[in-house]
Amino acid sequence: MAEKVLMKGNEAIAEAAIRCGCRHYFGYPITPQTEIAAYMSKRMPKIGGTFLQAESEIAAINMVYGAASTGRRTMTSSSSPGISLKAEGLSYLAGADLPALIVNIQRGGPGLGGIQPSQSDYFFMTRGPGHGDFHIIVLAPATVQEMADMTRLAFELGEKYRMPAMLLADGTMGQMMEPVVLPEESVDPESIPATKPWATTGTGMKRAHNIVNSLYLKPDELEKTNIERFERYAQLEKEECRWEEYLMDDAEICVVSVGITARVSKNAIVAARKEGIKVGMIRPITLYPFPKAPLAKAAEKVKSFLTVELNMGQMNEDVKLAINCSKKVSMCNRVGGMIPSSDEVLEAIRKEAK
């Protein structure tokens, strides 16, 4: 077995990206994700890659657009306010059908907000982070190991479906250290563009030009690109939903939570089980596509759902949609950088059990 090392979540993302063949990082510092940029600034020059601290988040995402056009694995990272600035670029990436990795280590908002952990960009990320009709793939890791593993998954899914992919985590996940087995270096960065027939790699006078663009002035053509894109989204929704089920076999209450709150919830569920409360958890791993099917299935047997989130009830709505409002969906939440304690979650579970 490969060696376990101790790393921060942010560092694990950076090292995993490099091992997956990413050689182009463009970013701008912002707490609590700056370790990604710091790590890249040390590693990239040593391996012939690009680390570039742009003049702004907007510049960085547009550099990603350029690098992604050439078919290379490329990424940027930021935290909530910085992601707002990247929204325009995300829309252009989506409109040009370009894969790229975007990392959002969320902090409390809105506005400049605070720098402590949050999950309040949920709507922003899952509903379409920019103008126009589009989605990005959104993955929600809950361990440092998943942060490394999902970095690879984000590159692979993004390329398969030709769309930007995001790792969406909270400040705690970025800052904490855990043992992690990093992915093997199995991808030759130079070989990746050749697998993308659309990439602007140079015609060599042998083929027509590849054009990367999101401008379509003829409405019928633009309509066609939108419809084709949503066919891909339908395929993605059908095939790529991921989630974890925890003690759901006999559960009468289903906790739904992601990231750090899923971990706090696990502690609370263990404590509630000791009191004889039949409670389990479904932890969505893909937030777009949202794992509706397992929730709908759970709705057939549980009495109620309880979302535990660091926002005012954003994923709560997705759970209601997934189960067609067929059961009660309660919520246990804290915002602004506060995190519910396992006792608070336990109390919310007890209330559901009454």
């Binding site: 090392v5 904490m176 250290m177 502690n267 396992s342």
Partner: protein, 182 residues
């Protein structure tokens, strides 16, 4: 057994580092662990803490609500965390920096004049490592001899010259527990 350790004090006392050395030692022992820093606009002189969980079982939440091991290097941290310690837990107090005693009677207090001891070896910034030595000796959360290996692997290149002093500080903490019969 699960050790939930909070190390708290002022920024600049090396609390995040001593937590990292403990976490890395747990990694070497093949245990489950997590390390979570307080983060923010923190600086030398501000408050600072880290939470380290060392366990035989997978770690759920890295956030510690009720530590069973508490290390405090300033009075505000003792005030803040004393009530959180689980019954039967142990508090390690740097008695050179904190004049008051632990008030609770259902937890054990270990008073170490760590900063004074570190001053005497002309390395005031190593009080954290003295207390770390005391913690591992007293609780057995990791084997004391593994801490040495962890330190060797954790210390940054910039501070490599201070490795021997760090090792000596850990050793002093271990000896303090041996000599004080705890």
């Amino acid at each position: 057994m699960t050790y939930e350790v909070i190390m708290a004090g002022f920024g600049g006392q090396g609390l995040l580092f001593s937590g990292k050395v403990l976490a890395h030692a747990a990694l070497i022992e093949g245990k489950e662990l997590s390390w979570l820093p307080s983060y923010g606009p923190e600086m030398r002189g501000g408050t600072c803490n880290c939470s380290v969980i060392v366990s035989d079982d997978p770690v759920g939440s890295p956030i510690i609500a009720r530590p069973n091991v508490l290390m405090v290097m300033n009075e505000p941290s003792l005030d803040k965390f004393e009530s959180a310690v689980s019954a039967g837990g142990t508090v390690f107090v740097d008695s050179s920096l904190i004049s008051r005693k632990v008030e609770r009677t259902d937890i054990e207090a270990v008073y170490i004049p760590a900063t004074q001891m570190a001053k005497e070896m002309n390395a005031v910034s190593l009080a954290n490592m003295i207390i770390l030595g005391a913690i591992v000796k007293k609780t057995g959360c990791v084997a004391p001899e593994v801490v040495e290996k962890s330190l060797r692997e954790t210390i940054s290149a910039r501070k490599a010259a201070l490795l021997d002093l760090n090792l000596k500080a850990v050793e002093m903490g271990i000896r303090f527990i041996e000599e004080n019969g705890k």
